[in-house]
């Protein structure tokens, strides 16, 4: 019996009571937090006149499936957009997580000359406003021949700075004792990285992967500027189809936006297991 359970057994009622109240409070807060999501969902079933009604109709008077039909079976190939988005997000995230974790380990645990200076340079690069990167990036991509290919979106995301920074910070919270004992046992950095840090940092890696996936998935501006051919379009570009000339088809757009959120939520639910499981199941806590 672990010590935690002991505490529970000592005064089960008190803790449960507290937990129950907190659950209610948090549920309520959570529901407030996702009001925009409800709006998105309910708007996707509305007729145009109903969208701007005030006070808001949270439940549409008639469930109009038209917008969802427009998304999936209309003249736009949302299945293609989806496939493209998945391709870009999966490759980009896998690459970023791996390369980022490696660099993070280097910065966190290997003392080499100029490490701090280099890291500050990294932080500096993270501060560059993305708006100024467009023109030079475009010139480079055009030169390298990857303009209007998915590589124009994938390559820059693989070399993540925020990921390096985040995972470095997380690695720093892993006690030195663990890697030191492995070091004494004769393990090299590569072994320590693969066999100890990667499993130990599962929560961080899963978290970063989820976030990076959502950033890649929602990357609108790069896709807009660097992709021209329709068969290469991604889901966020697909949302533009619902921007009419002088108005916005809010119902259609929100139907598409709902469809676009689902994969990330799915990834989150899958990835969450690793976030939580992480340390709890390993022996670190001992």
């Amino acid at each position: 019996m672990s010590s935690q359970e002991k505490i529970k057994n000592k005064s089960p009622k008190k803790i449960n009571y507290y937990k129950l109240i907190m659950t209610i409070v948090m549920t309520f807060t959570g529901l407030v937090m996702i009001i925009p999501f409800f709006w998105m969902l309910s708007t996707s079933f509305k007729s145009p006149a109903e969208i701007f009604e005030y006070p808001i109709q949270w439940i549409p008077s008639t469930f109009n499936l038209g917008p969802h039909e427009r998304v999936w079976f209309g003249e736009f190939s949302f299945f293609t957009y989806y496939w493209n988005s998945i391709k870009i997000a999966v490759i980009g995230t896998a690459g970023a997580t791996f390369i980022g974790a490696m660099a993070a380990y280097g910065f966190a645990r290997i003392p080499f000359k100029g490490r701090n200076g280099l890291f500050v340079l990294y932080l500096m690069m993270m501060m560059v406003p993305p708006q100024v990167l467009f023109v030079p990036k475009f010139i480079m991509f055009d030169f390298a021949g990857i303009y209007n290919t998915h590589w124009a979106l994938i390559l820059p995301t693989i070399f993540t700075i925020i990921g390096v920074f985040y995972m470095r910070q997380f690695f720093l919270t892993i006690p030195h004792a663990i890697s030191e004992s492995a070091f004494i046992d004769g393990a090299g950095h590569f072994r320590i990285f693969f066999q100890i840090f990667l499993p130990l940092a599962k929560p961080a890696i899963a978290t970063f992967a989820i976030l990076d996936f959502s950033w890649n998935w929602n990357n609108y501006e790069d896709a807009l500027v660097f992709l021209i051919s329709e068969h290469l379009f991604t889901v966020p570009l697909g949302l533009d189809n619902f921007v009419m000339e002088f108005s916005v088809d809010y119902a259609g757009m929100m139907a598409a936006a709902t469809a676009s959120v689902l994969p990330i939520v799915l990834i989150f639910i899958i990835g969450q297991r690793y976030i939580i499981e992480g340390v709890a199941s390993s022996a670190v806590k001992g």
Partner: protein
């Protein structure tokens, strides 16, 4: 000595792939825009671009929109510590003291994923000056002249701050949740047996433990506050007047609406220096409160 050298080599090896990519995709473009900031590049193709020395920098001094955006940006920064603090609290509660953990976590993460258009739309309704729930509540609490929120220059930035804090909280919560998994239960339990109260444990054990992550969130938050403007663009477009214009929005307009890319680069360089200075301060200040 040889061993040290080998260590160094391995260190470089670990960061090499990242370094190469970062140089290509970040360092080079940054240097490029540094050069641009001394030119009069205008128009999409930059035909007839010339070096004009410090002219752009002089122009900034007299640019009222820049000045206003600059100050707005500092005010806007407030949302970062607020969101970090609230994110930490929610994460701590979500981590231990609730049922239905998984579902609740997903709920708190969701706002971070929703399209800015939907967010903007709903918040505009919430902030409605006369009929919005926020002002109705304020008035029933006895506030006679509730702020006009988005429709007045005095309060629009505060409305934006509330929205932004709300939006990035989901991100902070998720990051904190992962970090909290590393906090050893035994330690907390040992403290609680010593008679420490729950909030004391949170304050003196949990918080120091995740302080590197807090630093990360603060730095990232500040950087993003100077980089992203999606929500502002969707809600106010910088108005009314220039009351919610922040620097990245101004850079964007100057670059891709007015196509004064030389001048936009100049603003961006200044912007970059400002964020960097703040980050450096945070970085140097970390010794006081970040525990590794």
């Amino acid at each position: 000595m040889k061993w040290m050298k080998r260590q160094q080599m391995i260190g470089y090896l670990f960061i090499l792939p990242s370094i190469i990519g970062v140089s290509i995709f970040f360092l080079f473009p940054l240097l490029f825009s540094l050069v641009l900031s001394f030119t009069n590049w205008s128009g999409p193709s930059g035909r007839g671009t010339e070096f004009i020395g410090m002219e752009n920098f002089q122009r900034i001094l007299g640019d009222e929109v820049f000045r206003q955006a600059f100050f707005n940006n500092f005010l806007y920064l407030i949302h970062v510590p607020i969101a970090v603090f609230l994110g930490f609290l929610v994460a701590v509660f979500l981590n231990r003291s609730v049922y239905m953990k998984n579902a609740l976590r997903a709920v708190f993460f969701l706002p971070y994923l929703i399209s800015p258009i939907a967010i903007g739309f709903v918040w505009m309704l919430l902030f409605h000056p006369s009929e919005g729930p926020i002002n109705v509540m304020l008035m029933s609490l006895g506030v006679d002249n509730p702020p006009g929120w988005l429709s007045s220059t005095g309060s629009s930035m505060y409305a934006i701050i509330i929205m932004s804090a709300w939006q990035i909280m989901g991100f902070n919560i998720i990051i904190y949740l992962a970090a909290l998994q590393g906090v050893p239960r035994e330690l907390e339990e040992a403290c609680s047996m010593d008679g420490a109260k729950k909030w004391q444990i949170t304050r003196y054990v949990t918080f120091p433990f995740v302080s590197p992550i807090t630093l990360f969130l603060l730095i990232i938050g500040v950087a993003n506050a100077f980089k992203n403007f999606g929500l502002i663009q969707a809600v106010t477009g910088g108005g009314p007047g220039n009351s919610t214009t922040i620097l990245p929005l101004y850079v964007y307009q100057t670059a891709f609406r007015y196509y004064e890319l030389g001048y936009a680069s100049t603003i961006a360089i200044i912007l970059f220096l400002v964020i960097f200075a703040i980050t450096l301060l945070q970085w140097l200040g970390q010794k006081k409160w970040v525990h590794y």
